[in-house]
């Protein structure tokens, strides 16, 4: 009795993720190329293509561990968490957490944070370009109203903080980076941004981090500035964020 289509697709799906399904093999024509070898072509493609998609989304992780090691890491992740939808640019949200729990994280304790940075850059790259607050939007506003303004972060803008110097690690991992070692002392606070033609990040001071976090929490400019240290200059920080396109146009 041949498998009904639902059972056939269930068996095929299980095969793709590594199960040995004799009921599926029995459905497949084999000749000088056995049914099992024919089925392997599909399993191989699933892992290779999804691994390539992860490599495209996490290029810095791949640069740090090398293509061969990355393939194994991706393979383990794909087997455990295959995509739940077909847009590959949106696949891999769980990869940084997966890295954190993987043996690789013991030797490279910053690897999961690098993964979070890669993921944030990916989200920023695919974020809408518009909806950013510009200096001209504020021209009509009287200066005394500015401190009470509540401004959200623009789409794709994200703060990534780490006890490791992610900016130096990232720079050293770029294809054109000079050879050398990276001093791992000191953490980093990075603001990831969508720019007109790509995504990028800038380093923030501790005061700017407190300010940006406050804005993200829904505080006004003045309230958010109160969270920052005494050396914080609101107008300088605000002008910087404005220039970076980090703030959303107010509704």
């Amino acid at each position: 009795m041949p498998l009904a289509l639902r059972d056939l697709q269930a068996a095929f799906a299980a095969h793709l993720l590594g199960a040995d399904r004799a009921d599926l093999t029995a459905e497949v024509f084999g000749d000088t190329i056995p049914a099992s070898a024919r089925l392997r072509v599909y399993r191989h493609h699933v892992f290779e293509s999804l691994g390539a998609a992860l490599a495209a989304t996490f290029p810095t992780v791949q640069a740090l561990v090398g293509a061969d090691f990355f393939r194994g890491l991706a393979r383990a992740f794909v087997g455990q968490s295959p995509p739940d939808q077909p847009v590959l640019a949106e696949y891999g949200a769980g990869f940084p957490a997966f890295i954190a729990g993987h043996d690789a994280a013991r030797e490279l304790p910053y690897l999961a944070d690098v993964g979070r940075l890669d993921w944030a850059l990916n989200l920023a790259f695919h974020a809408p370009a518009g909806g950013r607050l510009a200096a001209t939007d504020l021209a009509a506003l009287s200066a005394d109203r500015l401190p009470s303004l509540r401004l959200a972060l623009a789409p794709g803008t994200a703060l990534i903080s780490s006890p490791y110097p992610l900016d130096r690690i990232w720079a050293a991992s770029q294809p054109d980076a000079p050879a050398g070692t990276v001093d791992l002392d000191g953490g980093a606070h990075l603001l990831v941004l969508r720019r007109p033609d790509d995504a990028a990040f800038v380093a923030l001071s501790a005061g700017e981090v407190a300010f940006v976090t406050g804005l993200a929490d829904g505080l006004s400019l003045e309230e958010a500035a109160c969270r920052a240290d005494s050396g914080f200059n609101l107008s300088v920080a605000f002008a910087r964020l404005l220039g970076l396109g980090a703030l959303a146009a107010s509704q």
């Binding site: 289509l5 024919r38 293509s49």
Partner: protein, 278 residues
């Protein structure tokens, strides 16, 4: 003659195409690469005024027994509304089961049961988009003992029951025919009036337990055998917009355009032959 052959619009060529505006029959994009929004989508919108577009989906999973993913379908529909392409297509295959997406064009058994599933899904897709879509013959690495129809017979039934068009991938015919020990000429019996586009691509020749198996990797020039089969196809069905697909080891734009020019020359030669015979 205006070019009939078009090329895939791929990230490495985007800036050069935007700058040089090369003559080509049309530009093709993969739907799933342009749903997340990106600077690339803005670039496609700018090219829209100067080129006909073809939107090729790879993730609708028209053969899924689960039915279509309505959330994904809504995003594809929004992209189609935004770009107003000349053609929308996906494959005769399945990619999703039980909420998991496998990123591969998986083979269907060609049975009455599968026909019901595919026709229902294609009808839903056409209804949601408010237009005809074209279904592409896949590359197959296996066949099922339970199949009661040949692939061309199955495709002809899908066309007749759903009113969809056919996207005839000549490389996929060559790959499937080789791998499943079939005769490529069987596909020449398809209903030609339903064919809306041809695809051409390179394939890899791999070893499977000592036997050659052809892999549809879109990673090289079109093979001599596929050019020969393409001439038979054009002779049988006539000219159609023809896409050169090259997705892995993407070459310089000039080489891609060169492959498209070769397709144009072959189509023009078949046109002359047909005129002489008439």
């Amino acid at each position: 003659m205006d070019p009939v052959a078009g090329i895939g619009l791929r990230a490495p060529h985007l800036a050069e195409i935007a700058r040089e505006r090369p003559a080509t029959g049309f530009l093709e994009i993969h739907a799933e690469n342009h749903l997340a929004g990106s600077p690339a989508l803005q670039a496609v919108e700018r090219l829209r005024a100067d080129y006909a577009l073809s939107i090729h989906a790879v993730g609708l999973s028209l053969g899924s027994v689960d039915g279509l993913d309505e959330a994904h379908l809504a995003r594809v529909a929004a992209l189609v509304r935004r770009l107003e392409p000349a053609l929308v297509s996906d494959h005769l295959s399945w990619s999703s089961f039980g909420g998991r997406y496998f990123n591969d064009l998986l083979p269907l058994p060609y049975t009455e049961e599968a026909l019901g599933v595919v026709v229902r899904n294609v009808q839903r897709l056409q209804e949601r988009l408010g237009r005809q879509v074209s279904i592409e013959n896949p590359s197959c690495y296996l066949g099922y003992a339970q199949s009661a129809l040949s692939e061309p017979e199955f495709l002809a039934e899908v066309v007749s029951r759903s009113g969809c068009g056919l996207l005839l991938d000549v490389n996929n015919i060559a790959v499937t025919a080789h791998n499943l020990r079939l005769d490529a000429r069987d596909w020449l019996g398809l209903p030609g009036e339903a064919i809306t586009q041809y695809h051409l691509a390179g394939h890899a020749v791999n070893d499977a337990d000592g036997e050659t198996i052809l892999i549809d990797d879109h990673g090289s020039r079109v093979s001599d055998g596929v050019w020969t089969l393409f001439a038979d196809v054009v002779q049988r069905f006539g000219r159609r917009p023809t896409l050169i697909e090259w997705d892995t080891d993407v070459p310089q734009l000039a080489m891609l355009l060169d492959e498209a020019a070769r397709a144009d020359r072959l189509i023009a030669a078949e046109d002359r032959n047909a005129a002489r015979a008439a």
